[in-house]
Structure formats: C-alpha cells, structure tokens
Symmetry: C2
Subunit: 213 residues, 2 copies
DNA sequence: GTCGCGGTACATCGAAAGATGCAGTCGCGG
DNA sequence: CCGCGACTGCATCTTTCGATGTACCGCGAC
C-alpha cells in the first residue's frame, strides 16, 4: 500500500486528486494539506511514502516545502503544477523532487506516476522532459582537471585560507576574518602554495574557483 | 504517419523492433541500419521523422551517430540500450537525443514512446530519470552575476592582460607573453582593476574564470 | 595645423605578498 | 616522561604588485 499525502491549496482540485487516488486499490491517501507549512508538518507527522505537491501554495510555496521534506528525508515528492515554467521545473528538481507532472495529466497516468515514484524511480511529464534534456545538455562538462584529492594534503586552516583566496581577499582581510595576524596568513598561503605546487595566490584563487570553494 | 528508421546491429533484435513498430497503424518503418554510419547515411537519404538508435554498434557508436543526425537536423533520435550506464545516458542526451529507453521496455510503451518523441516531446525511462534528476540537481547554478558587458569598457590590451590574469600569471610572465615592459603590464592591470571596480589581481582572476576566459 | 582625447607605454615609490626561520601546542608511540 | 612530528602561530626580509605621474602616438573636431 502506497501512503500518499496530498498538498494542494484549491480544495476542489484537491478533492479531485484524492478521488482519483482513492480509486486505486494499492494507494491510500493518509492526509491532506492546503499550504506548504501544513504539508511539511503533516509529512513529519504522518510519514507518508510520497507527497503529491502543488507548486502554487500560500504561506510556503511548493518548491520550498519540497526542499524541506526531502532534506529531512520524510518522503519522496511528486510535484504537480498547472504551468510548466522552467523556473518551476528546475526549481522543483533542484529542491529534490522525484517527479514533475502537469495537471493536465489524466487519471491513469497520475496513478502510474505515483506508483513509479513510489518504486524509487523518477518521472517527468513528456512535455517537460525535452526542456530538461536541453537544459542538461547545455551544462558545461565539469572539467575534471580540478582534482579535489589534492585538498587532502592541506590542513583545515590552510583550506580555510584557500577558501578566502577564492573570494579574492587580501592577507589583511583574511587575517581579520580568521582572526589571526597577517604574518600568520602569509605562512598559510605560502604553505598551501607549496603543497599545491602553485606559484602565486592568483593561481590558488583560480584553483579554488574550479573546485567550487 | 510517423516515419521511423531503425538502427540496431543485432539483426534478431532489429527484427523484433520492426515487428513491434509495424504493428502500429500510425507508424511506418522506412529503413533499417546495422551500424552507425549506415544510420547517418540512411537518415540523410530517407529523412525519417525519428531514428530508433541503439548505442552499441560497430563502425560508429550510437552516441556519435546521434550527435551527427541531430547536428544536421535530420530527425529526432530515440536512444535504445540494454544498459543504463550513466556514461551512455548522459552521453546520449548531450548528443541531442530526445529520449532514452531501456530495452526491457514492453511493446506498448515503446510505441507510446515513439509517438511521444514524434510529437516533439521528450521521454526517458523511469529507471533512468531519477539519476538524471540527481545529476541535474547536482549541477551548480550558473551564477549570472558575471556580466560579460563590463568587458566592453576594457580596451583590447586590457582584455589580453585580464585573460593572462585568469591563468594566474605574474606581471613578469605577462610582460613576456605580450612582449611589453613589466611596468606597462602594471599600468594595464591597474586600469582594468579600476574599470572593473576590483581591488586586486586575485579578484580579476576570479572574474576572468567566471567569464570563462 | 593644433587641440583634445583615448590608447599604449615606461619609471618611481609605497604597500602587499611570499619565503624563511623559529617558537608554542597538541597527540602519539617508545 | 620524552622525543617526534604535524599543525598553528608570529617576525624578518626580499620580491612583486599597484598607484601615480609622465610621455608618445594616432585620430577626429575645430
């Protein structure tokens, strides 16, 4: 039995969804929420297998609610919306949603989608999939030249300094932020340059950038 | 009528696919190819609506063939493979495939997939979708803060110097590469720092990185 | 022409960065 | 306990950087 929580602010739509879900023998609607905060609260309380989440909701929007539910590991989230705006799609997926459906999906497909996500798989409306693919393909390939393993040779302090270098801070700035003498900052800079085989803080900053620090 | 080209090196599998496709009244198999080069050639010749493309093929693999077909705008490509290796999936999608199916997909879903892609939408096997989402979500958000327009205020020489800064070169290094006195390099650095409202070459280097220079 | 202006170029000088030596503090095995 | 090594911290000294003033050239406006 798949335990589902329905989060949708328009009661008419919510009733329709619940009706559809109840029609399936293997699906149980364990709760309903009419805004994002309720959705998160009920997810904590009821521990459903899956949350059917609308995006447009008062108090806490669906994307934020999704982020929270996923972050706490409460349930998988299947996002449901009327509009397939890129902003919504990508926002929801980044927030950790397992699926993204448009509301024009018919009852049969909705049930199938719920089962698919409950199986731990992912699902996206075909109309949206193409744009997701396009977005994905457009992503620059993560240059693997920046090897995170070299960071292992650095001490914690050195990593902190490196991070600051990545922001373009001067030694004095770093000294203030990390609360140490400028001379000490220089020591750390010098040491990490040696370990990373770099010749100046500029190269260190570039490296920090590539490593996403 | 959806005109389909089937590209698959194993003749038994290919026969099976053709059989399934022919069973649909709205789908027509206009050609078959047993390797990647044939697939591209036939796509050029026959101009199908869609190419059903296997990944493992001799002479030219499916990903490369897909890239070529898409680049020439010949047809949409639906990739079909036995293994859902990340390498295949991401490679195929980057190459411009509109869909990605596993071979364990049943006949009904295969036909539906063909129709979906032919409609201009996208389609991905549920088993693969979740990983695609994960991969997508993991991508760092491309910070748009780096505004290429600020570069317009720089002179050619200053842009050249900025580019060198992005590589982490010292003033002496830059002087050598651009064949000018170190003092001159300093002038340019100083000027571009002013124009870009930066406080050190380190920040300039970081900016150059973000701008992909 | 010649005046102004933007781009390029160089020299000087104070400020910052980087190398180096050294000291205090942990934690660990002998 | 003691020695040892790794980490952190600071001070001194040389190198590099960056701001500033100046000069030359090419080009369009006057």
């Amino acid at each position: 039995m798949i335990r589902v929580l329905v989060a949708e602010d328009q009661s008419a739509v919510r009733a329709g969804l619940v009706l559809i879900l109840r029609s399936a023998p293997d699906i149980e609607v364990v709760g309903e929420a009419s805004d994002g905060e309720q959705a998160v609260a009920q997810a904590r309380e009821l521990r459903p297998d899956l949350v059917l989440m609308d995006i447009q909701m008062p108090r806490l929007d669906g994307v934020s609610a999704t982020r929270q539910v996923v972050a706490e590991g409460l349930a998988d989230v299947l996002v449901l919306t009327t509009f397939d705006l890129d902003e919504y799609v990508f926002g929801a997926l980044r927030a950790g949603a397992s699926g993204f459906l448009l509301k024009n999906t018919d009852a049969k497909d909705l049930l199938e989608a719920v089962r698919t996500v409950a199986r731990g798989e992912g699902l996206i409306s075909p109309a949206v999939t193409r744009r997701l693919i396009a977005e994905f393909a457009a992503k620059p390939v993560r240059e693997p030249k920046a090897d995170p393993s070299v960071l292992d040779t650095l001490t914690r302090r050195e990593r902190e300094v490196l991070s600051c270098l990545g922001e373009g801070l001067s030694n004095a700035d770093i000294a203030t932020r990390l609360d140490m003498a400028e001379a000490t900052v220089k020591t750390h800079v010098s040491r990490l340059l040696g370990k990373l085989e770099l010749r100046s803080r500029v190269q260190a900053a570039v490296l920090a950038q590539e490593l996403g620090i």
